[in-house]
């Protein structure tokens, strides 16, 4: 096996470990940190089923963002929905045989990459053109967009310009999953694409990309509006109560 293959195999084991363990750790922290007070942004649902519906509208349709700003919503939603299709399409490189529904969305997943780029460029343009957004933008915000655009473009170059050896690529990833590393085609576009994806995976748990798992833990969105009916008490608040009553 070539040095490049060994490096990439190691890189993806490392990136996967960082992504999985890092995100798992963050989710653990969010889950165990109490929300001591009832703070849903009202009007809020009165039942758990209502909260599930509210969260569904937020995660799938970006409902609050739609109310907040139509341009950000448009670019943001187009990007995320496209990303979803593209990621789903990529499952074909990790499954054997390929699941039926993945086969079905293949064409959509291919062209969704354009949606990704358009969405990202729209969001990026706002960081330059809108003074308010320019003010709140850090270098790392630009870099994140650059990274995603580069991932999309390098991927598209293989889909639409010059194909890579997709059969060997799939063998490489199935090999990684089976802990039986296989050689990786040393194709420039592919190596760039994979290096950038690994970078994204590593950056994920230490960056604002945490919004993906984080949104589910947001107390202003995931709490039921029932404070008068049901007493809500955090463990540390209960401890405080015990101490002050003795």
């Amino acid at each position: 096996m070539s040095t490049v293959s060994v490096i990439y195999a190691a890189l993806f084991y490392f990136a996967t470990a960082v992504l999985v363990l890092g995100v798992a750790y963050k989710i653990y922290v969010y889950a165990k940190t109490p929300a001591p007070l009832k703070i849903p942004t009202t009007p809020a649902p009165l039942t758990v089923a209502g909260v599930v519906w509210r969260m569904f509208r937020e995660v799938v349709f970006f409902h609050s963002l739609f109310r907040g700003n139509k341009w950000i919503w448009l670019f943001g939603w187009v990007f995320h929905f496209s990303l979803f299709l593209v990621l789903a399409r990529h499952l074909r490189y990790f499954t054997n045989p390929v699941w039926d529904w993945v086969v079905l969305i293949q064409p959509f997943g291919k062209y969704a990459s354009f949606g990704m780029v358009i969405g990202l460029l729209g969001l990026w343009a706002r960081r330059f053109l809108v003074a308010r957004v320019r003010f709140i933008t850090s270098p790392s915000d630009h870099l994140m967009l650059a990274l995603l655009v580069a991932i999309a473009l390098s991927g598209m170059s293989m889909t639409f310009v010059s194909h890579t050896d997709i059969v060997s690529l799939k063998a490489f990833f199935l090999g990684l999953i089976a802990f039986d590393p296989q050689p990786l085609p040393a194709d420039f576009n592919l190596l760039v694409h994979l290096a950038l994806v690994a970078t994204l995976m590593i950056v994920f748990p230490i960056s604002k990309l945490l919004h993906a798992p984080g949104v589910f833990f947001s107390p202003t969105r995931n709490q039921v509006d029932n404070p008068r009916e049901k007493r809500h008490l955090a463990p540390w608040a209960a401890e405080l109560e015990r101490q002050s009553s003795t």
Partner: protein, 518 residues
């Protein structure tokens, strides 16, 4: 009138360009030792304030998921940037909700995240939006975390529900804990601990005031409407903001509550020990102080042996009452389980209206054309009634039952999109008057539109802070200072007291008898 420029009404509400730092000079008076100590905070900025502030931040990060999560997950999309009334009114870039949060977030990133520590060591923390905690940063905190009224408008439009109020509360708690407290809020909390209310109005003075009110109402209506204080065995404990005891137009609201209780023969009382609905512990983000203030209400309810607790018209107070009271001072298993604890006076009055137990002469309010200002914390942090959004419907139904002329303002400025009055969250102090005037701009613009389109003459509200704030800032925008009214003032004007008819009949009989004698 002012040593600053009052913002002009925008013909078309174009979002202003950001101007960083134009409100950096706006800072409330710092609390002296005498106001810090009773709350358990150091009297002045401690020597090792950096260390102490970071320790406190760590403590809060472990206690509040909202803080930890909101500091992590903001993607800087910009949806909130034009939602804050203080941004729209001052154009200061740091009054954009995300920029305000970033003042705390940059310190969080620097000391509590891998990215911030890593790039901090490289000497370029700004690359990932991190920054060292310096005296300049502390000054920014003091200035800009006292330019947030914790109204939650930003959280409505955030894709993750990030609520700047949570960040402001944490920042104020951190500042308090290193000895940099705000005089206005901390002095007031001290008064509650010592006397029982924000105004420092002692029991005897309260009793005098209430007796005076009984006389006023009697002179006005010929009916003995009672304003009971500390009556053991009463069924209902009314907890109302202390401004209701003396300020205009608050007091007319209090008269309205009393007339409603009187009309249905309810047994009720006020408490001198818990003579304050507002809970400034929330403004400074202190669970402990908020709890101590809340426990006074529990104790008053137990001591007086009441069966129900009803809150008067007050915004942030209703948030603490509705959303937090059960947590802070519950369980209220000693009260009548047939009623929610606590209830809002509007829920109570609305229930009676639906039962047909109150009669109104709407023409008594015909000299006014009304609109309604949804108070921020009622709108976005609480509820009334048994359905989501009852907090919008119920006060409007009361207004419509008591008035003939009512028009809502622009839909983008009411319900859960309502703008704060500009004085909430511990900012209702004269040392912040410039901020208060400027922050009221979006509400004033919306009001001006209904004034021009529908001839609106008065705005009704259900919050003591809103009422005081508007009374103060209306003249800056060319409105009459008495154009703000309490919702229960409208009830008071229109309610037909059954006793009043009797009293009037008796009075006319006596007059007739006197005439025949002559």
């Amino acid at each position: 009138m002012a040593d600053f420029e009052v913002p002009k009404f925008r013909e078309i509400p174009i979002i202003p360009e950001p101007h960083p730092g134009v409100m950096a000079h706006s800072k409330p008076f710092v609390a002296k030792e005498e106001f810090q100590k009773p709350l358990g905070y150091p009297g002045e900025l401690v020597d090792n304030w950096q260390e102490a502030a970071l320790d406190k931040m760590k403590d809060l990060l472990g206690k509040y998921r909202s803080l930890r999560l909101f500091l992590d997950i903001c993607v800087k999309c910009g949806s909130c940037t034009d939602k804050c009334h203080y941004y729209l009114g001052t154009t200061d870039a740091y009054n954009m909700p995300v920029a305000r949060q970033d003042l705390l977030r940059k310190v969080y990133r620097r000391y509590f995240t891998f990215a911030g520590k890593f790039f901090g060591k490289l000497g370029i923390p700004g690359f990932v939006g991190a920054a060292d905690l310096t005296k300049e940063v502390l000054d920014e905190w003091y200035s800009y975390f006292h330019q947030c009224s914790q109204c939650r408008r930003c959280s409505v439009f955030c894709p993750y529900g990030i609520d700047t109020a949570e960040i402001s509360m944490a920042a104020r708690e951190i500042m308090d804990s290193v000895g940099l407290g705000q005089k206005y809020s901390n002095e007031i909390i001290g008064k509650v601990f010592k006397v029982g209310n924000n105004l420092g109005l002692p029991g005897p003075a309260l009793e005098d005031t209430l007796e005076g009110l009984e006389e006023d109402v009697y002179d006005d209506t010929g009916v003995h409407v009672r304003f009971p204080l500390d009556e053991e065995g009463a069924e209902i404990l009314l907890v109302t903001p202390s401004a209701d005891f003396f300020a205009e137009p608050h007091i007319d609201g209090l008269i309205g509550y009393a007339k409603v209780f009187h009309e249905v023969g309810a047994s009720w009382t006020l408490s001198s020990y818990a003579s304050e609905a507002a809970n400034f512990g929330m403004f400074i983000g202190s669970y402990e102080n908020m709890r101590k203030v809340s426990l006074r209400i529990r104790k008053a309810a137990q001591d007086l042996g009441v069966k129900r607790i009803i809150f008067g018209e007050c915004g942030h107070a209703w948030r603490v009452a509705y959303s937090f009271l059960n947590t802070l001072a519950g369980p209220f298993d000693f009260l009548d389980p047939n009623y929610p604890v606590p209830q809002h006076i509007c829920e109570y009055t609305y229930g009676l209206i639906k039962e047909g137990r109150l009669k109104f002469d709407k023409s008594q309010n015909d000299h006014m054309v009304l609109t309604f200002h949804d108070s921020c914390n009622v709108a976005r942090a609480s509820r009334m009634g048994d359905f989501p959004g009852g907090q919008f419907v119920i006060p409007r139904e009361i207004i419509k039952a008591t008035c003939n002329h009512f028009y809502d303002m622009d839909p983008d400025t009411v319900y859960d999109s309502t703008y704060c009055c500009g004085g909430g969250g511990g900012l209702l102090t004269d040392d912040l008057i410039e901020l208060r005037v400027k922050g009221a701009l979006p509400r004033m613009e919306a009001l001006k539109r209904v004034v021009e389109e529908h001839g609106v003459t008065h705005m009704a509200a259900i919050c003591a802070i809103c009422k005081s704030q508007f009374t103060k800032i209306f003249p800056y925008y060319g409105f009459e200072l008495d154009s703000i009214v309490s919702v229960h003032q409208l009830v008071s004007n229109a309610i037909i007291l059954s006793d009043q008819k009797k009293a009037e009949e008796e009075a006319s009989e006596t007059a007739e008898a006197a005439e025949t004698e002559e």
